[in-house]
Symmetry: C2
Subunit: 475 residues, 2 copies
Amino acid sequence: MRPLTADSLNPAILKVEYAVRGELAIRAEEYRNKLKEPNHGLPFDRVISSNIGNPQQVGLDQPPLTFGRQVAALMEYPDLAKLAPNAFPQDVIARAAELRAEIGSIGAYSHSQGVPFIRQNVAKFIQERDGFPANPNHIFLTAGASAGVSLFISMLLSDPKAGILIPIPQYPLYTATIAQYDGTPIPYFLDGSAGWSTSLSEIKSALEIADEEGTSPRALVVINPGNPTGALLNEETQEDLVRLCEEHSLVLLADEVYQDNLHKRASHPFTSFKKIVSRLKSPIPLVSFHSISKGVMGECGRRGGYFECTNISSEIMALIYKMASVGLCPPLQGQIAVDMLVRPPKEGEESYALWKKETDTIHDALASRTHVMAERLNKLPGISCVDSPGALYLYPQISLSDKAIEAAKEAGKQPDTFYALALLDKTGICVVPGSGFGQREGHWHYRLTCLCPGVDEYVGKLEKFHNSWVEKYGQ
Amino acid sequence: MRPLTADSLNPAILKVEYAVRGELAIRAEEYRNKLKEPNHGLPFDRVISSNIGNPQQVGLDQPPLTFGRQVAALMEYPDLAKLAPNAFPQDVIARAAELRAEIGSIGAYSHSQGVPFIRQNVAKFIQERDGFPANPNHIFLTAGASAGVSLFISMLLSDPKAGILIPIPQYPLYTATIAQYDGTPIPYFLDGSAGWSTSLSEIKSALEIADEEGTSPRALVVINPGNPTGALLNEETQEDLVRLCEEHSLVLLADEVYQDNLHKRASHPFTSFKKIVSRLKSPIPLVSFHSISKGVMGECGRRGGYFECTNISSEIMALIYKMASVGLCPPLQGQIAVDMLVRPPKEGEESYALWKKETDTIHDALASRTHVMAERLNKLPGISCVDSPGALYLYPQISLSDKAIEAAKEAGKQPDTFYALALLDKTGICVVPGSGFGQREGHWHYRLTCLCPGVDEYVGKLEKFHNSWVEKYGQ
């Protein structure tokens, strides 16, 4: 028989790239295994995974919120309410009983769109957040935001010339999914010299280029707060973007998974696109994504999230339901966590004080770490870094000398990948090179998370590495 | 702006059909809501969901296996081992501690291929089952078997003329996924008059027709034990199928999710395709799927499963890893349940006796229910039903009179859908019409699960309905 070879496979799959778990992450995993050997010979004693927003991973160890985990344990093993009644606060027992009454066993498939009761709670949360009505039937629970984004992009890409506007830099889920479904990305650049702001004129030029190339734009992706940039849109820009979608008949895909990761709430608040679209009474189709993996919950491993459809016809929602039903349902432990996300303990309830303390601690640590890291990175020669007001990342720009670029070329690597690999080899710190997110020609960056405790030691290693790099290659 | 309409979307999405959660299931859901009203006016007081193999759903209420749920609760809230030490057997506490040491928090993303330690345990399970080696690096944990099947089919379909051989009747995941990724199904018929056996000559004729139509076959799907048929392949047929894959350079996709649902183990044992391929030293690429949703675990809501790759090059496995990494990782509670599936309590361990009792009860109930239902259905006029030796379903054939077919036509329905809708309207029993799975022209069937307790009442309703139908429409 003929062997199965990659060139006989779907060519779209071959084109997919996803740097967050790419070459760097794979090498970091190898180092992690090697460190278990007694004479590993590596110049570090642990690998620090700054490549991915995964707060609870080993080494970062952000503690989960107790309330949610207590409810989850009771859902797994309801007898515990009787076997160990003193191990749980009363509001936890009540919440688990309420969810049990609505859901039954979490070992059963739920409604493919997600448990109706949880969707009602999501709708209430959106309504309270925005001051405009939300409809539970327009909400789909998902296995994380990625699953929802992927579903929507697969529906919108009707042919290879169908295009989707994506910010550069972007979270590579977007380019990966557009490649997988054989569409065309239409990149628009964010402005690193102005706090990674979004500019209408950049999007308009991108649309002009697309037009010249025969690409038909279908949707605009906006990530707010930004990933990898951490930037927040102001309402004026958001209104402009909505108008632009109206003018060009674009679906707005609003990735709002970092809406609760705000480090400067006073100067950089979050406003949802749902609120803007509702206030403007705009007819644009809007899909807003949210997740349990980010925020202060950080429950990545459960795989949960939701999207809300605004101005999407019931005909199209029936198609979404059909596609969701082929996958049967999102994981129930993820769905339940969405309930905790939108319905945390309230003041006066037994679990409130602990919940408040836990969430404040996480917010404060993230904000202060982000600020300290940006400040110290900015002091290094050839590095400039926006002090992110949101999300979980910094995206420093690094200037690389001709000598460094030449050395990268000889090694067969992109210059920023070459830098990131050297950083990993010397320090055990794993970041993602900017080429994974996109950057202007001749600009170089990397993304690192601000989740790692022990900032002094961590940034100290980064500084030491960078200084020795500059010594070797110049600025 | 132009509104977003279905005809501007990806045309492949429009073609997808998935009957298991289609028209019947949607109407059943409406009835379930209506029953909550005091004067609902329906001729039944509960809806019985026999449309889907969802053992733990409300109304069926198959209890989860205690061991797995106890471990899951400790993974959610590890403090319980101290807070309520007497609520858990020692082997449960030890298992949870072992998993915690390997995984860390279940709130963190794991390796995209699945937790390495759990993959090692899966490999041991396969090795013990088959007597041939298995490699943890060739195993991918998934969010249920469906997610794995969908990923593989998306990779194999390189163009619209690429085809995949599927049994008819089939589980509609296959036609849905082939439609979604714009490939061509190549149907081969199973023989209902011979216990739904698989015949080589049927597959060869299907390949000839495909050849005439210019379709290039890439893979053969085999579901063993069968869904919806419950049939089991004998080893001779399995060997023939492997040889056929060799001859035609086909990837063998072996859906073996019902491998533990065997009602007649002595006469109808299960043999994995991995064992056959290993024994024959065949070079065919084989992908075998397994799941936590079926068997006696029935943990559908967790979304967990795995697939094992045999004779798949490392180049292609790197592509699979890349695609898995875009989705980040399978749900951790699903991964952990895979560990329980492949490593249940052993004789001599504290949890063994309860585990044995629970699993025996489920096996026995399913086997006896399947047999009783088949026997009673076979006594009804115009119904013939294979007494399934495996899986969770029966797939009775019903003869429908010209009068019934005419009435269906007037109602704008397929005849079998018309029958199933009438059954739902009168009894509250929701089944899936055969047109959702495929059937020979002029043959009519429906699929129903054998999961519903209270067989007497349940089959009594089916009998009463069918007799009144025959009275109205004739045989």
